[in-house]
Each structure stands twice: as C-alpha cells, then as structure tokens.
C-alpha cells in the first residue's frame, strides 16, 4: 500500500526482532471466535487517478458552480486564494493540538491573533478557538449561562436558526433545562413584550440571533437591558459573520456564540465550519473550549501556551465545562487569514457590498412579491412572499441554472409561500435580474396579486 513506508524485508526483520513467527501472533490477544477471517467487503484498492475521477463525478453531480441565493446559516463569500496557500502548509495542516508549546508556537500565536480579532469584531473581552459550529456554540453558550447564573430556564427567540434551536433542545434535554420560545413581530424582531412576560428569576439567559434567521437585525442594547433587569444573561448568536463589518457589534451581550463560516470557509455542503464563543473576562472560567494565553519563556522571550485547561475534560473529566476535545482549529485558521486579508477597511467594504446587492435584489424581487418584515434593519437576507409556491419557483429557476432562495414553509409554515433570499458580494446583477424576470413570470402565473411592497428601498 503506497502510504506504508515498509518493505517486506523491513516487516520480516521487525517480526524477527519481536520473535514473532507471523503478524498474526501480534493479534493473538483477540479472542479467536471474533477474529475476521476474510477481507472486508469494500471497494478494491484504487489508484489516485481513479479516486480523482470518482469524486470529480460526484462534484459534477452536485450543482457545480451554479449561482445561488441560498443563505440561511451558510453563506457564499469569495475566498481569497492565500487562505488555501497558508492552510495547506503541512506545518499547519498536519500538526496536532499545540500542547507542546515550544514546537507549536505557529499554531499558538495564530490562535492568539484569532482570539484578538474576534474580540475586536464582537465587542467581547475573550474568545475561544473553536467550537464545532455555530449551532453547538449556541447550545454550549446557553449551558455556560446556566453555570454562570445558577439558573436553568433558557428563553430563545423563534427567529434563531431553527437547526440551532434543535441542537439546543438536544443538548439541553437531559440538563434539566426548560426551554421557552418567543415569537417575532412584523418587523422580524423578537417580540419584546412577550419576552418580558416570560422572563423570570428562573431564567439563565435569553438567546437571540442577529441578524436573525429572517435576516432582521435585533435590537441588542434593548434586549441586554431587559435581560439584565431580570438577572439573566444575553446570549447572541451570529451565523453571518460578515455582517460584523457594518452592523453594530453585540457589545452589550454577555456571551456571543458565532459561526465563522462566512470568513473564508467553503460552504462544503454544511461543514466543516467553525464555532466560536466570546464573552466577558469575568466569565472566562466558565467557558468551554481551548484558550491561548501569552506568557514568557525562562529567558523572558514572549510566547504562547494553551491555558486555563482546568476547565477542560482532560483535567476535569465529568466536572469539565464541556466534553469538547478536538475542535475546528484549521477552519479557525481559515477565518483568521480571511479576517487578516480584509482587515479594518476591507471587512467594512465587503459588508457594504453585501448591503448594496441585497438592497438591489430586495427592490427588484419585491416588485413581484411581498417583502416581509420590511420594517426592521437587515443585512444580506430578506423574506419574500410570493403568489406561487417557492418550491415551484425554484424548480423553474433551476432550469435556468439558478438556485433560488430558501423556502420557509418547512420551519415557518405560517409565512405561507415565503422564501429567504440571500445576496452577497458574489451575486451578480445579471443573476439577480434573471431571478426578477422569473419571479415576474411566476407572479402572472400565480393565482392572486400580492400587495405591492409598502416602502421602496434605494
């Protein structure tokens, strides 16, 4: 086998050293009745070109390169070429968790820089790198809030990504964590009144997402005040990290649970992505996940180490803040490079382009349907209600090699024929115009004229 660095002679020599007659001697500890006395029934050993061809075919049969208006928690942003150049270096790609600091300074310093940039962007004081993804980060954030507050009930907005809420439910189900869900208003924001009503001194935290799943930016300062007034923490989930380039950071939150995929991570059919938890310094010892800290060597030279490990499973076992061990480090490095490439000015410009493209789409699509939640501010997603079923519209668009917006029926049946449309800097005017044209046809096809959008967006 081409990955194995041994010749038959090497194997014989080694067996001789061990005084073994054959390799099977070494497997003697396995009770005979269980040993597998046949080869596994798997595809035969394939050559490299065959493997490339097999996956190339899968790639071709996976919507290769179609323009898409899907967002809903996974965003198509341009990935600067240097990202793969850097993460492909064996010294990053094939290194283990940096427990041995003296030969892991590269990974450690880059994580320290990542932590710093996440703090700058979110307005938090400390950040880890990393959690599995945004959904698990949100669930862990809620559990962290329980530890911090000593309370158990979690109140979550219905406008948080439905799959994030499902994961929270799964994580919480045996944590004695009552879960209350609060709906959203016509502006797409969480219903403050309803929220206030349900809040009590049993509430560990309020969990919202901003921009939320419907694309609306929540009023974080107000929610923070509300939470604080009831002694609960505010957990803010962010699934579209690029929004941070132009949207006010959730600095008033107590915990930010973030999905960093937008920062240079391929869509990759849903993973691997990178979750991040950021919070206030005072809560750091309740954080899950790894943290890198600055220190000195015995000659006073600056260096970096994994720190506050007493929170972690390998030290604390059942008392750990989480069971997480392997995380998403290399993906965090992708995000790190992305943030470094765009930096202070670029992230803003990038976000502004997302705003502009979305405004254009919203205006032109809006002519052929009804834009819901038009009241609240939004970033790069909006909900369009159409006469025709969005699934039907989408299959027609697919004929034109365009992937339409995300139909909301599945998660929000009450919104009827509504779909969530997302535009990023990669959306071309041509593709948006094509969609508008298709929507126009759909509209005439549809059985009723929807009211025109109340206000027009420039």
């Amino acid at each position: 086998m081409r990955y194995l660095p041994k010749s038959p002679a090497d194997r014989e020599a080694m067996l001789r050293t061990l005084g073994a007659r054959s390799i099977d001697d070494l497997f003697a500890p396995i009770p005979a009745e269980y040993r597998l006395n046949r080869e596994l029934r798997l595809p035969r050993q394939m050559s490299e070109p065959e493997i490339l061809e097999w996956f190339q075919r899968c790639s071709r049969e996976n919507g290769k390169g179609l323009p898409s208006f899907l967002g809903a928690g996974a965003y198509h942003h341009y990935r600067p070429v240097v990202i793969d150049t850097i993460i492909s270096r064996g010294e990053f790609l094939t290194a283990y968790t940096p427990y041995q600091a003296e030969i892991s300074q590269g990974t450690l310093q880059s994580i320290f820089e990542f932590q710093t940039m996440i703090c700058e962007l979110t307005g938090m004081e400390v950040a880890n790198a990393s959690m599995y993804d945004g959904s698990t980060a949100t669930a862990e954030a809620a559990m962290m809030a329980m530890r911090v507050s000593g309370r158990r009930r979690v109140v979550i907005a219905r406008s948080v990504h439905p799959e994030y809420r499902e994961v929270l439910a799964t994580y919480g189900q045996h944590q004695d964590m009552p879960l209350t869900t609060v709906g959203f208003g016509d502006d797409g924001r969480v219903k403050a009144a309803e929220l206030e009503k349900t809040l009590g001194d049993d509430c560990a935290c309020i969990v919202v997402q901003s921009p939320n799943f419907l694309g609306t930016i929540e009023d974080i300062p107000a929610l923070a005040d509300l939470a604080r007034s009831k002694g609960a923490l505010l957990v803010v989930a962010i699934s579209e990290a690029v929004s941070l380039g132009i949207v006010k950071p959730p600095a008033e939150a107590d915990i930010v649970a973030m999905e960093a995929q937008s920062f240079g991570v391929p869509l990759g059919f849903g993973g691997p992505y990178a979750g991040v938890i950021a919070t206030r310094e005072k809560y750091v010892r309740q954080m899950p996940g790894r943290l890198v800290g600055e220190t000195r060597d015995k000659h006073g030279k600056r260096g970096y180490v994994l720190t506050l490990a007493t929170r972690e499973q390998h030290i604390r076992r059942e008392k750990a803040t989480s069971n997480i061990c392997t995380n998403q480090a290399l993906i965090a490095l992708m995000a790190n490079v992305f943030m470094t490439v765009y930096g202070r000015e670029g992230l803003k410009e990038l976000a502004v382009q997302n705003l502009a493209k979305t405004a254009y789409a919203r205006q032109h699509f809006g002519r052929h349907g009804r834009v819901l939640f038009a009241g609240g501010p939004r970033f790069n997603e909006f909900v369009l209600q159409t006469a025709e079923d969005p699934y039907v519209i989408n299959s027609r668009l697919l004929e034109e090699n365009i992937v339409g917006g995300f139909p909301l029926k599945k998660f929000y049946p009450e919104l009827g024929n509504a779909a969530l449309w997302c535009c990023t800097e990669t959306s071309t005017r041509a593709s948006m115009d094509a969609v508008a044209a298709a929507l126009a046809r759909a509209q005439t096809a549809g059985n009723r004229r929807p009211e025109p959008e109340p206000e027009v967006v420039r």
Partner: protein
C-alpha cells in the same frame, strides 16, 4: 548533543503579532466594482450601523504570506517527522484527499441546495456509511457528530433514548479508570452519573468488579477497546454478557479502532453502539486541533433514535434526507456534519481497499510492539500485557533522578521528535504513552528508540540536560503557571 542523529538547528525567522505590522492604508484586499447602485448605509441600518472596526489589522498580501509562513516554521508536524502521541493516531494525511475535497461542486455545495443537485454529496455520504458499517460490523450509522467527543454524546443519547423508551433511562454510566476524559465529561452532559471501574493488574476491565458494580441503575459501560494502555479487552465477551444480562448497553469508544480495522469488528464482539474518529483511524488531518469527525455506528435497535436527518434511497433510486423520525434524539449539529472530513475519509478507504486497510492495522500494531521491544528495560513497563497499537511506559526509573515524564518529553524535542502523550492514562503514574502508527518507517522507529535510550542515559549522567530541555527550540520552556494566573488572552495596543 552529538548523539542527536535526527535533527540539528537552523536559522529561523522571527515574527511579531500581525497587529504590530498594521498601519493605516495598507491593504491585501480588493473588491470588484459594484454592479448595482450604491446604498446609504446609515439609511439602511440606522442605529444598527457600526462605527468602526477598532484594531483590526491593515496589512498587505506579502506580509500575510510571510507572517503565516514564518509562523508555520515554528510548528512540528507529521510532514516533518514521527508524532508518537498515544491515543491521537497521528498518521500520514494523504494529499489526494485534500485535492478531492476542493473540487468545486463539493467545496461550494450549499447544505440547503435541492436534493436533485446534491446527488454527488449524497453518494459520498452513502458510500462512506456503507464502508464504515462493513468495517465496524455495525448495522446503522450517523455521520453528523463533528468529533469523537461529539460522537460519544450522540451515542450515549441514543442509549438514553432507547432505555427511556423501555421506561427507564437509568442513572449512571460505568467508565474504566483508564478512560479518556471525554468519556466522563460526555456522560455528565447526557445527564448521567459517572461510576469508575477499576482496571485489573493486566490493565483490563476487572470483570469481577464489573459484575459487582453492574445493576439496573447502569445505563451503559463506555469501553475503549483496545483501551488506552493499548491492551485489547480479552474478556470482552464476558463484559458484554454482564452488561446485557442486566439490560445495560455496551458503548465502545472507537478512538483506537486503528488497531482493529480488517482484523476484528466491534459489531461481532457485542458492542451496541460506538463512535469512530475519522481524524485518527481514517487519516483526516488534525489541522492543529481539528476539524475531526465522529460518526456513531449502532445496532438496529438503536436506529430509530439516530439524529435527523438520515440518508435514504428514494423510490426513484435517488438519494435524499429523511427528517421525519419521531423517536430521533434530534440534531447534534446544524446540517450534516463535517462533510469535508467525510470526503477525505472515503478517499482514504478507497486508496487502501480491504487489503490496504488490513495491512495498515498490522503495521500499526507491528510498530507499537517494535518500540515496546526496543524500550523494555530502559523504561518501566507497568503492564506486561500484549500491546496492540500503542504502549504505555512510566517514568518510574527516571523519577529516581528527579526526571519526570514531562521532562523526558521536552528532551525528545531536542532529538527532533514530537513528544509522546504525557501523563495519560491516569492509572499509570508518570505515564509515557507511545503510539507510532503505521506511518513510521523502521528507520524512523530506530531513531526514536535510540533517542529514548540516549535520554535515559542522560538521566543517569546529566539529568539537568533533560530537566532544562528543550535546548534547541526558538523559545525555551514557557511559563504555563504565570499564563494561567494572570491570563492574557488577546493583544491590546500599547497605551
């Protein structure tokens, strides 16, 4: 250090923090001209508009390439040499896997794109599940968990949901004292109490005490097999019987599956549910800490409880996702798991084939035994039981000179090696846990054994050289205590 054969010292670039290179007006980015009208951000966002981006860096492209290239040269990596971390299975990461995972249709596939244009990704997921079921001898599987610990949680939740359905979720999970920290941490997250199970003198589960501790309160035993001593639980059939006899389930931590692939199947020796670490046994790169992937395989009676969605073959022969499963424990992660790792693991399985995978297992076990043989006598071997894929020594002999496992580990760095796993498993005091994996040549193993012997000698002749190690690195031993006492977790501008 004249006896050091594997490494020497070479000039190495310094590099500050990226923030220290930033200055206003430098940029590594450029956007295409906007093809739609510009917008008034204040008007669109009002209150929600952000003022500025604080201390985010401003640097050029070449500075970024140099920054990360320089940083990378400070790392050790599999690509540079042996990485004998016990339990971590640091094996070669084939480059063809990286190539296929970047194919456009796979890298740019959106998780919510219509199933009609997702058949390629679905075929990959389906093919991988088929392969993993054949390899484990299990009957059903989910690829959703993002890592081993995530898989453990998923698996224990399956156990709990099943028992719940029987009427009683039970109270505790039995965990051997040699287990990895994620096992008890997982049990706690699933709402179970943890009860320790002590190992016997052979380093295996002490069957009598298991029998004694097993009762109707026990939901499951979390067993690592081979365990963290690299020992195969020879009484596995008894263990399974004891659990099943009292209605408990046998969970297997599959982190060490690389000792078994192609030789024996957990499904055949009584395991009810287990996880795999694709980033260990199936060669997906560790990437400095992740990502990984922790599929969970189980027997049919647990299938109804698997996370949603599950992959199904539809009437028309195409593949799709089934979300409609009333008994499911629910999701453990958004979307479908670390798909990119699934691609790599499948490519690895295809490159090996049945014969290659078996040979891989045989070489892994051969290497571990070869190292054991080379170091027996030089270092204390607390358990003489036959070794599978890894071997655990202790620092007992060297401790007499005041040199502990952590010191020996640091000294290995000077010899050009990454250290073994230090102080784990906990049942061995001063543990030195060595897993060479199949990726090491005889030449590299001989160098490792030589280095370890030479360090043992140094402990006799010049213990300070070891206590002060490493000597060859750009930074010497870092003060971890100070780092934890007053944590500095981010850069701040000098004021």
């Amino acid at each position: 250090m004249s006896q050091v054969k594997k490494a020497t010292r070479h000039v190495n670039q310094n590099e500050g923090l990226i923030f220290e290179k930033s200055s206003p007006g430098k940029a590594a980015w450029k956007l295409p001209p906007l093809d739609v009208p510009e917008v008034d951000t204040a008007e669109l966002l009002g209150e929600a508009e952000r003022a500025g981006l604080g201390h985010m860096p401003e640097v050029s492209e070449i500075e970024i390439i140099r920054h990360f290239t320089r940083l990378s040269t400070w790392n050790y990596a599999i690509d540079l040499g042996m990485y004998p971390l016990g339990s971590c299975t640091m094996k070669y990461n084939p480059r063809v896997n990286e190539a296929v995972s970047r194919f456009e249709g796979l890298a740019n596939g959106h998780p919510y794109q219509p199933e009609r244009i997702s058949q390629g990704a679905l075929r990959i997921l389906k093919t991988l599940t088929d392969c993993l079921l054949e390899i484990t001898g299990m009957q059903s599987i989910t690829l959703q968990p993002a890592a081993g610990a995530h898989g453990e949680l998923t698996g224990i939740l399956l156990v709990r949901a099943y028992l719940q359905k029987q009427g009683n979720p039970r109270k505790k999970i039995l965990i051997p004292d040699s287990a990895h920290g994620t096992n008890p941490a997982t049990a706690a997250m699933a709402g179970y109490a943890v009860e320790n199970l002590k190992s016997n003198s052979a380093g295996m589960v002490d069957v009598p005490s298991l029998a004694a501790q097993m009762n109707e309160d026990v939901a499951a035993l979390m067993l690592t097999n081979p365990n963290t001593l690299g020992v195969f639980e020879q009484e596995i059939h008894k263990i399974a019987d004891i659990l099943h006899g009292k209605g408990g389930l046998l969970y297997m931590d599959g982190a060490n599956m690389n000792a078994l692939v192609g030789k024996v199947r957990p499904g055949d020796f009584g395991v009810d549910v287990m996880h795999l670490n694709l980033h260990k046994t199936f060669s997906t790169p560790h990437g400095g800490g992740g990502p990984g992937s922790g599929p969970v395989a189980c027997k049919n009676f647990l299938e109804p409880f698997l996370p949603v969605p599950v992959i199904v073959t539809k009437a028309d022969g195409t593949l799709g996702f089934d979300y409609n499963r009333k008994d499911s424990i629910g999701r453990v992660r958004a979307f479908y798991g670390n798909f990119g790792m699934h691609i790599r693991a499948l490519a690895y399985i295809m490159a090996n084939g049945p014969d290659g995978l078996r040979q891989t297992t045989e070489d892994a076990v051969l290497n571990a035994n070869y190292v054991r043989k080379g170091l027996e006598g030089v270092y204390d071997l607390p358990y003489k039981t036959p070794t599978m894929h890894e071997v655990v020594f202790s620092d007992r002999l060297q401790a007499k000179k005041g040199v502990r496992t952590g010191d020996l580990a640091k000294r290995l760095i000077d010899y050009g090696f990454h250290p073994y796993t230090v102080s784990f498993p906990l049942i061995v005091s001063g543990a030195m846990m060595i897993e060479p994996t199949e990726s090491e040549s005889k030449e590299e193993l001989d160098l490792f054994v030589d280095a370890m012997k030479s360090i043992a000698e140094e402990c006799e002749k010049a213990p300070d050289v070891v206590l002060e190690a490493p000597h060859s690195t750009r930074v010497s031993r870092l003060d971890e205590v100070a780092a934890a006492r007053k944590p500095v977790l981010r850069w701040k501008p000098q004021v």
